[in-house]
Symmetry: C2
């Protein structure tokens, strides 16, 4: 809610942003494209693992009864490599030469490792009698058919891909990454790699936010930035929303799920995003935070009438970054069903004091010191200090009611990882 | 070195694997492809940040001398939006209307926020006199041209992409991801998604290892798996090494840097990898570990005579996974110059006891309990327990000399993340 200062609280704006995003739909993707995605459904085992009783050792499958006296010499009645699909039952009084992973023949209850034999091919001398079952992997001993192996909401990594494949799955149902369209505004912006004129700066927000979207689990498309001109802004937006959305790492094209703009939302005379979207479904507010006070969130009409969620971030690079961390990263991860919606949070002592504006939550860049277990403010509060941001590994969060913290005071710290 | 048991130590084999991989060469990639890559060179700022003195606020640029008496009313002599490239010096006795990020005109030493004025367009009434410089961002105040902004070895994330773009860089010199060719062997293997016959299992190692390679920072290509036939294995390998290497996420095609096989290296009668590569530049050894005892490492001659590093992993899925974690992940990350070569390591108490074989380092899958701060062995030691592996978040490491640990004993734990 809006406090006595006339500012909207961080929590209120975060809730407004989160409410814009529907849960990402499930999509079936080949295993190779599932890494780091979130499972959309429980994975139920269609088969047992192992699917058949098999040998845990290279050796000989025998009946325990035939090893009553040791050493025992038995004729080798069959040879069972892994992959043998026509294994016959074991005849009493014989041994089957068997390899790791190969099916244990019916009738055999014991596997003798090759190291406890003379490794014979036609006949084998056996010097030890292992307990029955010791070197046999039983059907379903790892996974029983019909059981849930991976829960919905699990992040898919190498081991999860491994077990899914071992159970016969060529694809998995995962949350489709959100498709995010990024559009930066500002007449002063120049594309990196080109010459910079007086009064101009390089456009950095779109590339930075695209990386942040990817890290959050989304797929970003960057629209070419536009000058502070309402008609051009709106035309660029419509053009980008009308186009088939670009090929993301997940390859699943489709309409944009979310538009994120940067710049043009402040109190100045040329605020292109605010001017274009006020009254069109986007609410602009001052949020009680530093940096990142000017914010907007809502929906806009795409060509064809579909309403698309839009979040308008301030243009100062550090404000953009902090706003993404505070509002968009948690909202995107919640929509993806990710188990880790927020950054890891710790409380550690400050190594030096800091000042914070009254009535605003301050987000200061910090650097952790693993030796002393403290955090240092990294650069000043200025929202243009991108060089300092790039050297930070933490975000220090100062509550609105606090205006001064001293060295040694505990603070909330987000680990940027 | 080889111990009294005749087994090679984990350290010795790890060193042999690491020695195979040369440092990954540097490559210049567009910013959008640099996320999570490692910087190959220091990034030196080509320009100052900010590149020109600019306003931190929407307001009016004035000379402090003109605010001697308050309120002061001054004619507005120019309007300076962000992006204005032809800003004239400020005439004495006038104010320039200025927006955040716009160049502060020569002659002005003070910016008055619009909130402390009547926001006039032709004339402006100013009610406060901020200290000179307070709302002015000075040239180079964030980054000075010629200084190192990001050190070689830095992992590139959103903020690093942001500052690189802000300094005008359209691309960065990063370590090229290692190109890893994966080849699974085993007559018993069937592709996931197809019907499974008796004695057959689904191939899972290649998909699992491809994900592990990606997580380590490499790019994997999976060759179709082959049966336990030496000629077919060698032909498949030559074919894969001769082909132009597939399109990885980094898009930089080229020859394979490393071949990783799984299966066919044990003591059985049908060990295709061992049979094909023994005497051809690959050394096979038994390593004092459980699981993962049979290992191989060396080089093989690719078509054309180039020698390609090859690491041969055992075929049991958990053995493959553990071997990758122990030998390949650190080697790949070291070759990439990654600051985090090993997994994070902690020592925590066991929640239940476990047995470990004498003379071998045991790697047991574990699950951490955040509430009690303990780790539980997750499933037994069997190298076929892939379902249990997929539920683990930690690896418990038991030294070779230890054969029994009780609940409450501290153990080394790798956090699998």
């Amino acid at each position: 809610m809006t406090g006595p200062s006339g500012l909207r609280s961080v929590e209120e704006h975060a809730a407004a942003v989160a409410a814009l995003l529907a849960p990402a739909p499930a999509v079936r993707l080949p295993l190779a494209r599932c890494l780091d995605r979130v499972l959309a459904e429980d994975l139920v085992a269609a088969i047992d693992l192992p699917p058949f009783a098999n040998s845990a050792m290279d050796g000989y499958a025998v009946r325990a009864a035939d090893l009553a006296a040791l050493p025992a010499t038995l004729p080798v009645s069959q040879d069972i490599p892994a992959g043998r699909t026509d294994t016959a039952p074991l005849r009493a009084g014989t041994a089957a030469r068997i390899m790791t992973g190969a099916p244990v023949p019916d009738g055999a209850d014991t596997v003798v490792p090759v190291e406890r034999t003379d490794a014979g091919v036609d006949r084998v001398r056996i010097d030890a009698a292992p307990a029955p079952g010791v070197h046999v992997r039983r059907v379903g001993e790892d996974v029983t058919a019909g059981t849930v192996v991976l829960r919905a909401g699990t992040v898919v990594r190498a081991a999860q891909i491994g077990v899914a494949a071992a159970l016969g799955n060529a694809e998995l149902a995962v949350r489709r990454p959100l498709r995010v369209l990024l559009l930066s505004t500002g007449t002063e912006l120049v594309e990196p790699g080109r010459p910079l004129g007086p009064g101009q700066i390089y456009e950095s927000n779109a590339a930075m936010l695209a990386a942040a979207v990817t890290e959050a689990g989304g797929v970003a498309t960057v629209a070419h930035f536009v000058t502070d001109d309402v008609d051009r802004f709106r035309a660029a937006l419509d053009r980008a929303l009308d186009l088939p959305h670009g090929d993301g790492p997940a390859g699943d094209d489709g309409p944009v799920d979310l538009v994120v703009t940067s710049g043009g939302v402040s109190a100045g005379a040329y605020e292109v995003v605010k001017d274009a979207l006020t009254g069109a479904g986007v609410e602009f507010a001052k949020v009680a935070m530093q940096p990142g006070m000017p914010q907007g969130a809502g929906t806009l009409a795409a060509p064809g009438g579909r309403r698309v969620p839009v979040v308008t971030l301030p243009g100062n690079p550090v404000s953009s970054y902090v706003s993404f961390e505070v509002f968009l990263r948690p909202a995107v991860r919640a929509a993806l069903g990710h188990p880790d919606v927020t950054r890891p949070v710790v409380r550690v002592p400050l190594s030096t004091g800091l000042d914070s504006p009254p009535g605003k939550r301050q987000f200061r860049r910090g650097q952790l010191d693993a030796v002393t277990g403290t955090v240092a403010p990294w650069g000043g509060p200025g929202s243009h200090l991108l060089g300092w941001l790039a050297g930070a590994d933490a975000m220090i969060v100062v509550p609105p009611a606090v205006t001064r913290l001293e060295a040694g005071d505990d603070v909330e710290v987000w680990l940027l990882g």
